[in-house]
């Protein structure tokens, strides 16, 4: 810009002769800028997805290229066969009689890529189901019917209170007050201790935990939770032996069982009754609520994360087909936002070899 402040026709020259106009312009532009900064969360310490992703990295260390949670995992492919019973509850095409393609992932809870399987943590299954009409349904499910916290704020507080300090262990001075303020987390820990522990990924039941809404052909909306019920014979393991198990025993067992033939689960949809809490993942609905079997998941092939199709998928719980919607459960939006943040980070870091390079089917 050929700008000379002495020149009366320069912008600066003109503005200095119109101080009122100059102030007005600065005020308008400034207000828009401040509003935009506010929208972007610059004021007031809004809880954003990056903060939770950071807290996960503090909790379990930064492992570049890997998911910030449920880090240790294995891919599979298979199919879901709707039996037609679900069409009454949801117009989603996946529930019509017929076969949908599935890409999925088994994982264990925690943020370390080669952590030992012998820990009392979540076991999980994530599915990306493509219905015959092309619509996609993604769901990430855990082996517990409930979650330790009900809100993203509580999740953040949980991570901060239980992150390891100098000696590699959480600071009791932080854990104590957290637990005192969060009886739901204490209840969850007791639930983990009391529930029998399945011996394998294959005979584990997996739960959506969060509530969702189904939109039926009759236009009616129903609050639901879903689960995958194993068809394999139940077998339980002694929790006292967990620490003595080989590091990768769950995944090795999975590989062995999958080699022997397809693995199957039945999907059930549990319907909420009036008054059931739909916005609180720490509260289970009574077992006797109406439940509808809507189809069967079959896993045909296991494949490592390094070679398989699941690593590069974000199992966003709000990636839902027509006929399924999120609920008022505040964890759902938080999961969607944080999974996206985790996905963006690991994508930017690029893939790193998984533990499974030494554990192939």
């Amino acid at each position: 810009m050929a700008q000379n402040p002495q020149d009366p026709n320069s912008i600066i020259g003109q503005l200095s002769r119109n101080k009122g106009a100059a102030a007005l312009i600065a005020a308008v532009v400034g207000v828009v800028l401040l509003l935009f900064a506010w929208a972007g969360g610059w004021f007031g310490g809004r809880l954003g997805p990056g903060k939770i992703a950071d807290a996960l990295q503090v909790h379990d260390g930064l492992h570049e290229g890997f998911r910030r949670a449920h880090t240790k995992g294995y891919c599979f492919t298979g199919h879901f066969d709707g039996n037609g019973q679900g069409t009454r509850l949801s117009v989603a095409n996946v529930f019509a009689q017929g076969e949908s393609r599935v890409i999925g992932r088994f994982s264990t809870g925690g943020g370390m890529p080669d952590s030992p399987d012998g820990r009392l943590v979540f076991r999980a299954i994530a599915l990306s189901i493509t219905a015959p009409n092309g619509e996609v349904w993604r769901t990430a499910m855990d082996s517990t019917a409930v979650f330790p916290v009900a809100t993203p704020k509580a999740f953040m507080a949980f991570l901060e209170a239980t992150s390891p300090v100098a000696d590699g262990k959480p600071d009791p001075a932080k854990v104590g007050p957290y637990m005192a303020a969060h009886p739901e987390t204490v209840a969850f820990i007791n639930y983990l201790k009391e529930q029998p522990l399945a011996s394998s990924f294959v005979n584990t039941r997996y739960y959506s935990i969060n509530a969702f809404r189904f939109v039926g052909g009759d236009g009616q909306t129903r609050f639901v939770r879903w689960s995958l019920d194993p068809t394999a014979t139940p077998e339980w393991m002694d929790k006292g032996n967990l620490e003595k198990m080989p590091r990768d025993f769950l995944f090795d067992d999975l590989i062995k069982r999958a080699a022997a033939g397809p693995l199957t689960w039945d999907m059930s949809i549990q319907l909420a009754a009036p008054g059931d809490k739909t916005d609180d993942a720490t509260v289970q609905w009574p077992e006797d609520r109406e439940s509808v079997k809507v189809g069967r998941l079959t896993i045909d092939h296991l494949i490592t994360e390094d070679e398989g199709p699941c690593r590069d998928i974000n199992f966003d719980p709000l990636a839902l087909p027509t006929g399924i919607k999120g609920s008022d459960d505040p964890l759902l939006a938080a999961r969607s936002a944080v999974y996206s943040s985790s996905f963006r980070r690991r994508a930017a870091e690029g893939p790193h070899p998984s533990f499974a390079t030494e554990h192939k089917p």
Partner: protein, 179 residues
């Protein structure tokens, strides 16, 4: 009397001004929060962004078939160049941002649903290195659009309040104050 923009151009300008500014705020807001606001903002972001894409194509056609009124003759040459350049930058960003958003979701392997039963096909291969580039470009482009818009706003007010040259009026409706 100042010559004005063609009526369709003026309508598109103000309609899109509202939508684009809303989109900038929605985009910045949705990535800043884990609350349920994230969910509904993202649900608006996709169909609204696609609407802007359709509108900007119509607008570019309008722009090409109907020449806008000339800028005031007494404007310095550099200012004229800055105006032309920033206008084309605004058009380019309005055109490419929706495409970048759409290809970001494609490269991330997301289903791209705009509304119940309304899906877009992927326009880029599922590839995370590509996703990283596109996601960064979408974010960078969006903030570039915001700052270009701020300059545009400041310049419009400068024309109106300081130069009083009828440039803002050429984009307005109703009685022509300069007439």
């Amino acid at each position: 009397m100042t010559e004005r923009f063609w009526l369709p151009a003026r309508i598109l300008h103000w309609l899109m001004a509202v939508l684009v500014i809303a989109m900038l705020f929605i985009g910045a807001g949705m990535v800043s929060t884990v609350s349920r606001t994230h969910e509904w903002l993202f649900a608006i972001h996709k169909p609204l962004g696609f609407t802007i894409f359709v509108l900007v194509i119509i607008r570019l056609i309008v722009r090409l078939v109907h020449k806008p009124p000339p800028l005031p003759a007494d404007m310095p040459a550099w200012m004229r160049h800055a105006a032309t350049l920033s206008h084309w930058l605004l058009y380019a960003l309005m055109f490419f941002l929706p495409l970048l958003g759409w290809s970001t979701l494609s490269a991330a392997g997301y289903p791209i649903q705009l509304a119940p039963h309304v899906h877009l096909p992927p326009i880029a291969p599922h590839n995370l290195a590509l996703y990283t580039f596109l996601r960064d470009a979408h974010g960078f482009g969006a903030y570039l659009l915001f700052f270009t818009y701020l300059a545009h706003l400041g310049a419009a007010l400068f024309h109106h309040l300081v130069r009083k040259d009828g440039v803002l009026a050429s984009m307005l409706f109703g009685k022509n104050p300069a007439g």
